[in-house]
Amino acid sequence: MASIEILNVSKTYPGSAARSVTGIDLTIRDGEFIVLVGPSGCGKSTLLRMVAGLEDISEGEVRIGDRRVNDVDPADRDIAMVFQNYALYPHMTVRENMAYGLKNRRTPAAEIEARVAEAARMLELGPYLDRKPRALSGGQRQRVAMGRAVVRQPAAFLFDEPLSNLDAKLRVSMRGEIRRLQRRLGTISIYVTHDQLEAMTLADRLVVLNAGRIEQVGAPLEIYHQPASTFVASFIGSPAMNLIDAELSGSQLRIGGAALPLDAPAPAQGPVTLGIRAEHLHRAASGLSFSVDFIEELGAQRLVHGHVEGQPLTLALPPDAPVADSMVIAPAPGALHFFDTASGQRLGAAAPAPRAKGVFA
């Protein structure tokens, strides 16, 4: 049983005063698909590269299986990595690319051949085995890169934004292919992406990073429905969660001059940031008066952009829902999220496990 433990890991680049990655704690169980997601510069790639051994670990400890690997050579960490721009060896054929890592580990030739053949079959690379990478399309190159990782049969796959260089359509099908492959092999995977859709669809557990720290860890839907902060709320989900200034007073929610009754006890009093998903707003007999600015037709739904009391708001309505220039809307029951105006942290008991330390389940 393999597992990866990341214990209080930080990274400080030489010559820089601030940490790029701060106090990351994460335990990855066998067979888990973990996605590290966050905006560029949030430290997700740095974290992945510290696990791979391509960056030194400034503080803390990384354990793969039962070994502390801080000072272990990348080649001895029993990991395989798939890079954003494939990083294939341009002077080697597809077959040689896949066999190179095994040859250097003195795997018997027959075994190498069997593993390469198996990977080629799995990834449908059979006809291309004797081609050089430059004679392949982007998708094929990415499959070779995955094949190179698969033949090694490592304890973990590390993916560094592997689909960013592909076009949108190919990205969707490769996403499926990666998920299927990982299910089948049951190998731990750590996958870095800035694309929240990719993150949602691939992950067993999602790790949302912001400015070098973990904002939230959890299953994709858990994070979608219970974002721990305004950062997570605005980053996960498309369209982003509506975040508007409001005030709680007694059992009433005030937005500017309008007021809504609360259907649950208020988690706090005074000014808060209110979060509502676009799909949790609908037309109602009484509620907030909403004036429409413009409509985006997506086919399966229509996104209605407008404002309430001078604050921008987006509604996701069914495509056949009637829309007027000005309408009265109300949130679905139980769909309100409250966040602290200063820290952006979630208010109320519904928040998931505390994000201070320890293992996130």
Partner: protein
């Protein structure tokens, strides 16, 4: 996408196809008068004709004549000049030394340049200072380099001679054949290393970081990684430098040799290009000297063709 690539066209057919292909329309509209591009090319063409083709033709012509030493006339002698040159034991001895000298200078200059580039590539702190220090040698003119080399190997004040003395080597540059050869090779290599360094360094930096990192994960042994990944990816640079270095060793070391052996007793090693100069300009044997330079030209031509024919095949261009 499922079909295999077509077998590569034979070189000649490919070349022909390239010439016969219609010019791209976007390029054709650049000049509406056919004369204009030639006008732009004229200065460059004039330089090539005046300084390369014309002297070459002159050399070939005069190699068939024996010229009167005072320039009053010349006699057609056919291939006699070539026969004299190739038949002379001295010429063959110098040719042998030239081959030895060229192999040594090329191998050492390439090897050291590569070694320094690999090491400098790894330096992170103060990398620009290192590079400037290594590259600046290239800015020294060959005769000055020769002169500096001469001083380093001077019988009385040369630190290298003193150094060799500590190890019991009584170095006599300018007197002893092999001591002079040693000094010539050292100075020539020293002069060429920065050039190779620049190219190898930029070649190394052209290797994508991710490819190197993938190799780090795939192969623990640094030397194996260098041989398996870095070196093949440097091959285009290496091949280019090989040709340049051979040409350098054969021709451009002239100034270094001149400074080292001029006004010295005989029995010093010289290379073919220096003999061309000696016979032609010192000995006034224009015909013989021309024949030698034509032979040299042919040797370099054949060498370069062989390199392109057999070596370039194994070079992978990214």
């Amino acid at each position: 996408m499922t079909d295999l690539p077509a077998p590569p066209l034979p070189r000649l057919a490919r070349l022909r196809a390239r010439f016969l292909a219609a010019p791209e329309p976007a390029k054709r509209v650049q000049f509406d008068r056919p004369l204009l591009p030639w006008l732009f090319l004229l200065p460059q063409l004039a330089v090539i004709v005046v300084f390369f083709y014309w002297p070459s033709v002159q050399a070939i012509t005069s190699s068939f004549y024996i010229e009167d030493p005072f320039g009053f006339g010349s006699t057609f002698v056919g291939m006699e000049n070539y026969g004299d040159a190739l038949g002379s034991a001295e010429y063959r001895r110098i040719a042998g030394f030239t081959a030895f000298f060229t192999v040594m200078v090329t191998a050492l200059a390439l090897g050291l340049g590569l070694l320094l580039a690999v090491k400098a590539d790894k330096v992170i702190r103060g990398r620009s200072a290192y590079r400037t220090a290594l590259i600046s040698v290239y800015a020294i003119a060959p005769p000055v380099a020769g002169l500096m080399g001469m001083m380093l190997f001077d019988q009385h004040i040369g630190p290298f001679v003193k150094l060799a003395g500590w190890f019991g080597w009584d170095m006599k540059v300018g007197l002893n054949y092999w001591d002079t050869a040693f000094a010539m090779i050292v100075v020539s290599v020293w002069k060429q290393v920065p050039y190779n360094f620049i190219f190898f360094l930029s070649g190394l930096q052209g290797i994508p970081a991710a490819v190197r990192e993938a190799a780090v994960i795939d192969c623990k042994n640094g030397l194996r990684r260098f041989a398996g990944i870095t070196l093949p990816l440097l091959a285009p640079t290496g091949f280019f430098l090989l040709i340049i270095n051979i040409t350098y060793a054969l021709f451009d070391t002239f100034a270094v040799i001149d400074v080292m052996v001029k006004d010295k007793p005989a029995n010093n090693p010289i290379t073919l290009v220096y003999k061309v100069y000696l016979d032609g300009f010192r000995g006034n044997d224009i015909g013989g000297s021309s024949a030698q330079s034509v032979i040299l030209m042919l040797v370099v031509l054949v060498l370069t063709l062989v390199q392109f024919r057999y070596l370039e095949r194994r070079v992978h261009y990214g």
